[in-house]
Structure formats: structure tokens, C-alpha cells
Symmetry: C2
Amino acid sequence: MKLNKDQIDHFNREGWLLLPELFSVQEAALLTLEAEKIFASTRPEVWREKSGAPRTAFAAHLYNQAFGVLAAHPRLIQPIEQIFGERVYMHQFKINAKSAFAGDVWQWHQDYGTWKRDDGMPAPRAMNIAIFLDEVKSINGPLMLVPRSQMEGDLEASHDLQTTSYPLWTLNEPTVARLVERAGIVAPTGRAGGMLMFHGNLVHGSAGNITPYPRRIVYLTLNAVSNYIRSPSRPEYIAHRDFRPIETVADDALLRLAQAEQISRDRPAVAYGNLT
Amino acid sequence: MKLNKDQIDHFNREGWLLLPELFSVQEAALLTLEAEKIFASTRPEVWREKSGAPRTAFAAHLYNQAFGVLAAHPRLIQPIEQIFGERVYMHQFKINAKSAFAGDVWQWHQDYGTWKRDDGMPAPRAMNIAIFLDEVKSINGPLMLVPRSQMEGDLEASHDLQTTSYPLWTLNEPTVARLVERAGIVAPTGRAGGMLMFHGNLVHGSAGNITPYPRRIVYLTLNAVSNYIRSPSRPEYIAHRDFRPIETVADDALLRLAQAEQISRDRPAVAYGNLT
């Protein structure tokens, strides 16, 4: 798994890169099934919306085999090591539900702002990665990215404890308007199994989801080993303290697990999982 | 302005029809400008979101010249008279702001449910019409429609006074999921000046808008004259009591008004109107 020059140039210029269908339908279906089980549980790592609908499950790679394999998968790790020129460790690992009917908004923000202020991360040498567990459509609350905004560095932000059910350092409206006026907004879509990577300083957000289509993604952060966090203030299941570089698994490890679980090769994405 | 057979068949089958670019850029720009003035005013007909951002301005055709001309425009009136085989009057006329950054959600609902229960409208012989004042994009809270759901008739609904800032008879999640599983969701988009018409029993909703792009539309209801409301309970500026058929203006009436106001022929849609 190597990025080509066009892909690297696109990432360096635009601040994001989509690798569609990186994981097979079968691999993605296993992860969706496991995510449903986790969201149905009541662990402290599983956070909920004001409505009670699941919002985020943290650190699933530490207590679920399939997500453990995903977190060490070469298709995910190698492109990031290639870009940073250095090995990486898992800074954060979460499954975001964006539930059918009840998925809440994420206001405009940069992630590095939080890593710096809350975790003491020295530089934005950590990569955001979204793995699609459901089809991401234009109507079910896709991630919206402001291209090239990573070049602005760390923008002024205020700590928003109100408008979302998760504390965020959010940007003010004139800043977002200025950046969008220059470069617009992209909202990459695609079937389950796709992978979207973007810069820690890329401005992004997502609207609520009122459709019957859940938009679950694994949303993880790989940090360059030398860039380990210096002064973490958040719980260990949110900002990890294991700074050892990730040892990747075999490329077919997730597929073999799906086969062992007898996941059908053409099992469709579960569209109405939240209703059952 | 006559619909052709394909357009009528599409409406009768799918429950909706988009007439893109029905009004010129110049005509639409005049309406956008007038809408900004109305939203900046403090009339009782102008309702606001919880945040204070404008949400809906009712009955603007009765106190604003440009919207008065729009409300009697043949491009808007004639297709509806053609479908109903009868003359029409204005049952409701509002400008919905769906403001930049702060546009709120409209839960899934049918409009005829409200007209029947709150206004005593005998039959769903009234047409919903949306005129785009800004470009409607996939990311700024487009109307989402469930095709063919008008064939379900008047579905069971509950009066929702909580989740939106406007009282609505909303549908439950299993009902929406069942209809969407059958026919999916469409979210028509297009530049300012487009017109979307849809059946009074078509299930629809829209997500919030967190982008810097406002998505203002004129949202009006033309009712067949014989189907006048029998027992109105809402204020007259919401459910009108003037049941006389609309006398249309000349096709160039709105254009001439735009020219008189010196609206440029290529004035772009105002993208950041809410920020000024």
C-alpha cells in the first residue's frame, strides 16, 4: 500500500485525500456488525447524544478483536508512515455513530487545536483518518472539509461546551466564512470501506443526520512517534499514552476474521441498524 | 407556461417536480435582496430560531411589492392550475431562511396533515411550491423528499412542539424508514430561481445548515379554490382567508421590477448575506 505522487501532491495541497473502497464489502460489514454490538453496550467508553442515541465509542481497538486488527492494518498505517517519513502510534481511536434520525451536529473545528491544548501535542504531525462503516451519502451528515485550510495553521478557537454533546474548540463564523469563500467545501462520499485522511489543521464539521441512514465511521488519529503528547489532561481511553510504534498485521487479517465470522461476501451495508 | 406530458406523469408518479432556473438570475436576485430587508425587520410575521437567526417570514406578498408580484406570477400559477384543472388561491406564503451557520432542522412531515387538522382543509388539493432564492446545494440543508409517499394518504402524526421552533405534525421513525426503504430520498438542488413543486402529502424534511451558505426559499401553498379551508385556527397571516382566485400578472412583471431597481443582470446570488 503506497500512495502515488499525485495522491501525495493532492494531500499536500488540499489537506485531504480519499481512498475509496480501500476495504472490501466483507471487511466493512464485519466492522459494522461489531460496531452495532459495541453501541448496544453500556461501557464508559460509549458516549451518547442528548437523545440517548449512541454518539461515540472510544478505544474499541483495545477491547474488540476486529477493531484491534483494523487499528494495525497496513492499508491504513503505511500511507501515513509514508507521508510523515516516520513510524506512528495510535493517539485516538473512536467510532462515531452519526445515528439515523438522531445524529447530532459537529461544529466547525480543527482537531490539532484540541490535541495541542488538551493533550500537549507539540506539532500537527498527526493524521485524521475516517473509515466508512456505512455508505456516506450527501444526505446523512458527511464530513465537510474546507480545502487548503490546513495552511492557516492553528486558528483562534473557543471552547464550546454547549452546542454539541462533546467538548470542542470551535471556530468563529467569520473565520469559516473567509476560508470557505476562498476554497469552498468538499464532502467526500462513497460506499462502506472507504478511507478519508486529512490534516490535523484542516477545518471540518458535519451537520446533523435526520435520515434513516446511519453514517457510522471509525475516526482515528495516527501520531508520529516523535510527536508524542507531552501533557495529557483527558482520560487515557480518549488520548492514549502507549507511544510504541504500531506493528502492522497481515493485509488479509481482517478478511480472514470476516470469513471466520461467516460474513457474506455480498452482505449489504446495514441501512436500518438503528431501528432494530 | 405549460407542463408537458412527461412532467405531469413525473409529478403524478413521484409526487414532486423540479423546474430548474424558472426565474432568471436577475429576478431571483431582486427577491433575495427584498428577503434580506424583510428578515432584518421586526414584524410579527417574522419568526426566529432559538439562536435569534431569522427562520420564517410569513405573508410577505401582502406587504412587499416584489413578493406580491411573485405570488401572482404566471410561471408559478399556471402549472398548478393545469394540474388541479381549477383556479387557485394563496393558502400560505412564507420565506424560510435556513440561515447560514444556524439554520435549524425541519423534522419529517406531510404538510396536508397540518392543513387538515389546523385549518380544516377538506382534501389534499393544495400544492407546495419552493422558489430557490439562493443556490440550493447538497450541503446547505436542501429539502429532502421521499418519492411516491404521497400515495400513502394522510399518515398518523404527532404534534411536535419540541424539536423545531415551529409546531409541526411529525411522522414517527419506523414510518419514515419504511417509506425510504421503498423509494429512497431525493434532495433536488440548483441555482437561485428554480422552482420545486410537491404534493401536500409528500413526506419531506430538511437537516440543519452549518455552512456559510444561506439556503433561503419562498415556500408557498396554492390551494384549489373549491378546496378552501373550513375551520381555520391559525392566525390569518399564516392561513389566509382570501379565497378569491389569483389574477396573474404579466410574465415580465418581476423582471421589469428588477430592472427598475437596477438589479444587475449578472448579480451573483448573495452567498454571505447573513454575515453582513
